[in-house]
């Protein structure tokens, strides 16, 4: 894509202090460490990883909702350009209109004391995007209709709705300010399978209609594979592999991506036990292993991996992987 990406993160780091101690230094959690991503305009960008991989933190950092410790995040939608890490108050206000978040839990994300109309209208009122109640109502009805909400239900309170409907309300709230960039954080994880596809289709439709760019965060590779055009895999705060969806799923290069893919339970009952299982669990981000962060669970780890952290390398068209041995392993696979 010749266009400038909508979001560019360069060496983005997010560190959290762990608790507050009166004396001594506080341990630091490196939730996101030196991450580089370009999210092209109009893309459905998937971010995959297990819990504790830092994917949520990365998503929030891009929205200026998590402290950016180091590095740079730029936003460029053709109209305005922002350096997200250092926004002035006025710019931040404007950025909030342009970049929004859809939450995971449709139950916690909606204030139980507000009607659906008030929930969707809140961004408009807070941002001062409308001048009269009529105009607000007009916009609320417009976006609610787009999100396939029953307009007669706008007077209701969230407790009247099922998970799928709540998620549609949540989407309507995120989109009412007409943003360009939307981070969807595990937005279908809490939904039932039969509803999940419905919400995914809605997200896709809205993307076409409103020209949105998504960062779609998920732990579910099969969902990501279906909806995203580009996928990045995170492990312990690092990007370990990224590439166009088909390329990545057909030729996964990083042993972690391979393990993730093979761990997805297959729908074929006869396809049992033919998967390479990953032993152990993701280490605590407060105490990461030296070298490659994945070495503790990697079958192919060598001393080199334990000493030195690999950098992202080109592994194909737009396909990058952070593994010392990817070439060697790929050749072996091609032979065997």
């Amino acid at each position: 894509m010749s266009d400038t990406p909508l979001i560019t993160a360069k060496d983005l780091c997010v560190y959290y202090g762990l608790g507050r101690k009166l004396i001594g230094t506080t341990p630091v959690i490196r939730a996101v460490e030196k991450v580089n991503v370009d999210i092209p305009k109009g893309s459905f960008f998937g971010l995959v990883g297990e819990s504790g991989s830092g994917k949520t933190t990365l998503g929030r950092a891009l929205l200026n909702a998590a402290p950016i410790s180091d590095g740079k995040v730029s936003y460029d939608d053709g109209e305005v350009q922002y350096d997200v890490a250092s926004l002035s108050k006025q710019d931040l206000k404007d950025y909030r209109k342009r970049a929004q978040l859809i939450f995971q839990d449709p139950y916690a994300a909606l204030s139980p004391r507000m009607t659906v109309r008030d929930i969707i209208a809140e961004p408009l009122e807070v941002m001062g995007l409308t001048s009269s109640r009529e105009e607000t109502d007009e916009k609320v009805r417009e976006i609610a209709a787009k999100c396939r909400l029953n307009l007669e239900h706008l007077r209701r309170f969230p407790h009247a709705f099922s998970g799928g409907q709540r998620q549609r309300i949540s989407i309507a709230r995120a989109l009412v300010s007409n943003p360009k960039f939307v981070v969807a954080d595990e937005s279908v994880a809490a939904l039932d399978v039969s509803i999940q596809a419905d919400v995914l289709n809605l997200l896709k439709e809205l993307q076409k209609e409103l020209g949105l760019t998504y960062l779609f965060i998920s732990h579910d590779l099969s969902v990501v594979a279906h909806i995203c055009d580009h996928v990045a895999v995170m492990y312990l705060g690092r990007l370990v592999e990224s590439g166009p969806t088909r390329e990545l799923f057909n030729n996964p290069r990083h042993p972690y991506t391979q393990a993730l893919l093979s761990a997805i339970p297959s729908l074929d009952p006869d396809h049992r036990g033919q998967v390479q299982k990953l032993e152990g669990e993701i280490p605590s981000p407060a105490d990461p292993p030296p070298g490659c962060k994945f070495q503790t669970r990697c079958r192919f780890a060598t001393d080199h991996c334990r000493r030195e952290e690999p950098k992202l390398e080109e592994a194909g068209p737009e396909h990058e992987v952070a593994c010392h041995r990817w070439q060697e392993l790929a050749e072996k696979e091609a032979v065997g």
């Binding site: 929004q100 004391r113 809140e122 209701r156």
Partner: protein, 382 residues
């Protein structure tokens, strides 16, 4: 199908779906029979307290004493007796005498031929209602009285004060002390708990330390110490105010802790983050999200803490450190029933105790009912 009978109509459902938090709480509260009974008792008691001067026939202070009827038994109005019936209720007149035959003790004898009819809306001592005396508005109509002599529904005490009138005024006083105490502790709790909960971190730790320190102070010795500081010559009104103040200052930590917990929980809810992400100011978030999210809980907390504050006042007055005559509070009334003489001869002194128990129980039940009702998502059904 049996389930059909339980399916609500479309209209009822829509009402349920569009019901706000407070409407849901009220709907649930209404279904709790104990709480509803307690609530009506409570409303009754509060009204009795508020309109005490109108309802009570005589001044509860020494000014309203009936020197003809000291330590008098309750007089129960009748409609019929051996002399026939009357539409207007009546009581009997009494004669008091002491002679060598009674070992020179005062003995009262009821004279069944001396009928005294009850009158309604009679004129009596002047009073103000709900503070109207301050703007010069006074009344002198009372709900009832006797055509001659005086009527004492709950009897009289040693100095001839009408226990019925005193009880009503005592409810008023105790509720006033309670309200003032709750208000003071509520304001303190909201500020202190609010700061701790909203800012968290080190501020929270320090405030929690102070709160815990205050909570560990034993109450009775503290009361005694403070009461000792109150100069004995201050007016009863000032004393009343000080007592409320002390009670308020003692009771805030529990409430503050609850406010803090509510805030800490709610502050991390995703919908608060959602509001922050649209650029809402802290003021907006507190007003639109945090406060509404726990007002119902705070109201419940207030109702639940109310009886404890009434109890504190009562306990304080009971051990003689709180309010004193001529102010009548439930604690003062309780103080009067401590002698063996009362137990043996003047059991009607205990009538205010019944009111006291009813008041505390009503508050507890209403508070319990509200607490259950305030959590509509608690007993979730699958």
């Amino acid at each position: 199908m049996a389930a059909n009978t339980s399916v609500p109509t479309q209209k009822a459902k829509e009402a349920y779906f569009t019901a706000s938090q407070s409407q849901l709480i009220w709907a649930r509260f209404k279904k709790n029979r104990t709480a509803m009974i307690a609530a009506s008792v409570l409303v009754g008691l509060i009204l009795m307290g508020l309109f005490a001067p109108f309802l009570s026939p005589y001044d509860p202070t020494i000014a309203g004493r009936d020197s003809e009827y000291e330590n008098g038994a309750p007089q129960i109005p009748k409609f019929c007796d051996k002399n026939g019936c009357s539409i207007r209720p009546f009581i009997y007149g009494v004669k008091r005498e002491r002679s060598i035959e009674t070992n020179f003790r005062w003995v009262t004898t009821v004279d069944p031929d001396d009928r005294r009819y009850l009158q309604f809306f009679v004129e009596g001592w002047e009073y103000g209602l709900l503070g109207s005396a301050n703007i010069g508005l006074t009344f002198d109509t009372h709900l009832f009285g006797a055509d001659k002599g005086k009527v004492h529904l709950f009897g009289t005490d040693a100095s001839g004060k009408d226990i019925f009138s005193r009880t009503l005024h005592a409810i008023n006083t105790s509720m006033a002390v309670g309200t003032l105490g709750v208000l003071i502790s509520f304001v303190l709790a909201l500020i202190i708990g609010g700061i701790a909960g909203y800012f968290g971190g080190l501020t929270d730790s320090i405030i929690q330390m102070v709160t815990d320190a205050v909570r560990t102070v034993p109450i009775i010795p503290l009361f005694m110490a403070i009461a000792a500081f109150l100069p004995p010559e201050i007016s009863s009104e000032a004393r009343f105010f000080y007592i409320s103040l002390i009670i308020g200052f003692i009771n805030w930590p529990t409430l503050a802790r609850r406010v803090r917990t509510h805030l800490l929980v709610e502050r991390n809810q995703e919908y608060v983050l959602a509001a922050q992400l649209v650029g809402a100011s802290p003021g907006h978030i507190i007003r639109k999200h945090l406060l509404p999210s726990f007002t119902s809980y705070i109201i419940v907390d207030l109702v639940i803490s109310f009886p404890y504050i009434v109890l504190s006042e009562t306990a304080l007055s009971f051990i003689g450190l709180g309010l004193k005559d001529p102010v009548t509070s439930l604690g003062v009334m309780l103080l009067n029933v401590t002698s063996a003489d009362v137990l043996l001869n003047y059991q009607w002194y205990f009538i205010p105790v019944l009111f006291f128990i009813a008041l505390v129980m009503a508050f507890v039940f209403v508070g319990d009912g509200l607490r259950d009702a305030a959590d509509p998502y608690g007993g979730s059904k699958k």
